[in-house]
């Protein structure tokens, strides 16, 4: 169901985007180039896998705005920002919004590849987590949301109009499917997966 992991290279400078795409391709990665924020936003969906390598100073829709729009759409693709200038306020903001890395445009190849690998690894981990959650039924997810909020089984049963025992059954099914051992572990995993 999910797509092939792709490095989405976004830079208004076509030649630079092409060169970076070639380099990533030469390293055996699947890369696609985009000339603007709007272009890449049109392409990325919730099913997209991989990461985004994006110029921070894109004309029109800027890198930070693209990051924000992706977040609004709950797309959690890791983003590696490239910049021509060491712009500290922007980098701080980008990192706060969850960017994986922040690199100079002409950073050494090894550094660039390491950042992309980290981004891809983070996406892979998140994606496997997603797959685990994808096995949960609708009812189980609903109960999980209550659990994460710290509610007692009795309260959940009352809210959903079901038996407390049924809630307990669902909870053991959830822990089994996700492979967690404790409620604390369950809560942190759920938070990582964005269940709230």
């Amino acid at each position: 169901m999910s797509e092939r992991p792709t490095v989405h290279v976004v830079d208004d400078d076509a030649s630079f985007a092409r060169a970076l795409g070639r380099l990533l391709g030469a390293h055996g990665l699947h890369a696609r180039t985009f000339g603007s924020g709007a272009e890449v936003l049109a392409q990325i969906t919730l099913a997209s896998r991989g990461c985004v390598v994006m110029d921070l100073d894109l004309p029109g829709l800027g890198g930070l705005e693209v990051q924000q729009r992706l977040a609004e759409r709950r797309v959690a693709l890791p983003i590696v920002f490239l910049t021509g200038r060491g712009d500290i306020p922007s980098s701080v903001r980008a990192m706060r919004q969850g960017a994986v890395d922040f690199l100079e445009k002409n950073a050494p190849q090894a550094q660039l590849l390491a950042a992309v690998s980290r981004a891809l690894a983070a996406d892979a981990a998140r994606s496997s987590l997603y797959n685990r959650f994808a096995n949960l039924t609708g009812r189980e997810l609903e109960i999980l949301r209550h659990v994460v909020r710290g509610r007692m089984n009795k309260q959940i049963a009352a809210d959903l109009g079901i038996h407390e025992r049924t809630v307990k059954l669902h909870r053991s099914a959830i822990t089994a499917k996700l492979g967690v051992r404790s409620s604390a572990e369950l809560a942190s995993l759920a938070r990582d997966a964005g269940v709230s």
Binding site: S15, R85, K105
Partner: protein, 484 residues
């Protein structure tokens, strides 16, 4: 049959008229040089004196002598008034009222001699002929001195007082050349006048029998004046050259400053092709390490590297052109590529600050007579200011528009309009003054230098606030003469 006297007077007259013509031309070419006009009038009057002196010497009868004497008074009035005017205009010192008294008194003498019957001040009743330089010249043997002659004599003394006063005042001035001018010109005038007055007294009172010969002395005065006037012209040429050099120098400093402000975005712009070249080279290396390199891909990489290298070179060339230090050179310049180049310099900076740049000009706009570098500088300065204004204003419409159009048969007008807050009314009349700035960092010389540059092109630069928002700066440039 002409003798030495004829030769002397002819030479004095011709020399005076030549000098008058030269200084008249100087004044015509540069109307600010009013002392040259005064000199011109004075020299014509001296030529008139020489002519009438010759007439007096050749007079056959007392009636004829009286006729020439009339004209002599007219000419010497011209010479006196000319010197008074010259001293006033050239020295710029002394008491003006003394000058007016001189002109008034000499005016009375002329009026008395021209309007009344001849000989109102000094009437020769008998002529004598004496040899002068081997030639016979008419001289007064007997004459009647009338009261008007005392007016003429007192005019001479007031004249001496006027010139002496002005000369002393000039001598005391702190300027470097003031003392030399005072000594040379003031001294020559006073010396000439003393000689002329002395001679007049000797002749009028019949102490010495000699023809009236004041014009050769006047020539010495004209020579002293000419020397100083020519020195001034040479000096002002030097000053002008120095002013041009300083203007170019200042323009260069301002240009370097503006580019300095843009250095961040220019480095960024340069980083694009450099980054692309680096990544392409790295990719090529990876491809070459394979068993079967993809040659088509490698060819594409090499082509891209080449194009990016040229792109980087073009950016450096643009900057280098603006960093060059050179004097103003006017050529026929097309505005279209010039504006495009300047826009390319600020594009990055504008994009980073979310400012849209617009440019519109008609296709058929003729080339302008301009110095490419300096006009680029003006435009760059106005654009940077415009972008700053829009950024500072935090406006929703973020736009700086450049427009060029023909506004007259010989004029092209370039406008740079921004959508910022506009210029506050207190600052607006002073924006082109040096060191007036609203920016936290910035010397405030950009606009002052820009105006100097535009004016050196024979154009105008001015600013006004827009009706809706922001300000517009406009400058004109002359259209280049079509090449012949």
């Amino acid at each position: 049959m002409h003798g030495t006297l004829f030769v002397v007077w002819t030479m004095v007259g011709a020399t005076s008229l030549t000098l008058a013509a030269v200084h008249g031309i100087v004044w015509l070419l540069d109307r600010r040089r009013s002392p040259n006009l005064a000199f011109c009038l004075l020299a014509v009057a001296v030529a008139g004196i020489a002519r009438t002196e010759f007439g007096l010497a050749r007079a056959a009868t007392v009636e004829e002598y009286a006729q020439w004497l009339r004209w002599f008074y007219v000419a010497s009035f011209g010479a006196t008034a000319g010197v008074v005017l010259f001293v006033r205009l050239y020295f710029g010192t002394g008491r003006v009222w003394l000058g007016w008294v001189v002109v008034l008194l000499r005016g009375l003498v002329v009026a008395g001699n021209v309007l009344a019957p001849a000989g109102s001040s000094w009437q020769v009743v008998r002529l004598d002929r004496i040899p002068v330089f081997g030639e016979l010249a008419a001289v007064s043997a007997d004459a009647v001195v009338r009261p008007l002659q005392w007016v003429a004599t007192s005019a001479s003394f007031v004249f001496l007082a006027y010139v002496f006063d002005a000369t002393v005042a000039l001598w005391r001035r702190p300027e470097r050349d003031a003392r030399r001018k005072a000594a040379l010109v003031g001294g020559a005038i006073i010396g000439t006048r003393l000689a002329a007055t002395l001679q007049a007294q000797l002749i009028v009172w019949g102490i010495v029998a000699m023809p009236v010969m004041v014009s050769p002395a006047f020539l010495i005065m004209l020579a002293a004046m000419t020397y100083e006037l020519c020195r001034d012209i040479v000096a002002s040429a030097h000053i002008e050259k120095e002013a041009h050099r300083l203007r170019d120098e200042l323009a260069h400093v301002a240009r370097v400053g503006t580019l300095g402000e843009l250095s961040g975005s220019l480095a960024h712009e340069l980083n694009q092709p450099l980054g692309a070249i680096l990544r392409n080279a790295e990719a090529a290396k990876m491809l070459l390490d394979r068993h079967t390199p993809d040659l088509d891909e490698l060819r594409a990489i090499v082509a891209d590297i080449r194009a990016d290298d040229q792109r980087a070179a073009a950016i450096i060339e643009r900057m280098r052109g603006l960093l060059k230090r050179k004097s103003l050179e006017l050529h026929a310049v097309s505005l279209q590529p010039l504006v495009q180049e300047v826009l390319a310099l600020v594009r990055n900076d504008a994009a980073a600050r979310r400012v849209t740049l617009d440019f519109a000009m008609p296709e058929e706009l003729p080339p302008v007579a301009a110095d490419r570098v300096q006009v680029s500088q003006v435009l760059l300065n106005l654009l940077v200011n415009g972008i700053d204004a829009v950024s500072d204003a935090n406006a929703t419409v973020r736009r700086v528009a450049v427009e060029a159009r023909r506004t007259g048969p010989r004029t092209v007008e370039v406008t740079v309009a921004d959508s910022g807050h506009g210029i506050s009314p207190e600052i607006l009349p002073r924006v082109f003054e040096p060191f007036v700035t609203t920016k936290a960092k910035g010397l405030g010389i950009g606009l002052a230098v820009s105006r100097t540059i535009v004016e050196a092109h024979g154009g105008r630069l001015w600013a006004h606030n827009n009706d809706r928002s922001g300000a517009t700066f406009r400058f004109t440039l002359p259209i280049a003469e079509p090449a012949t």
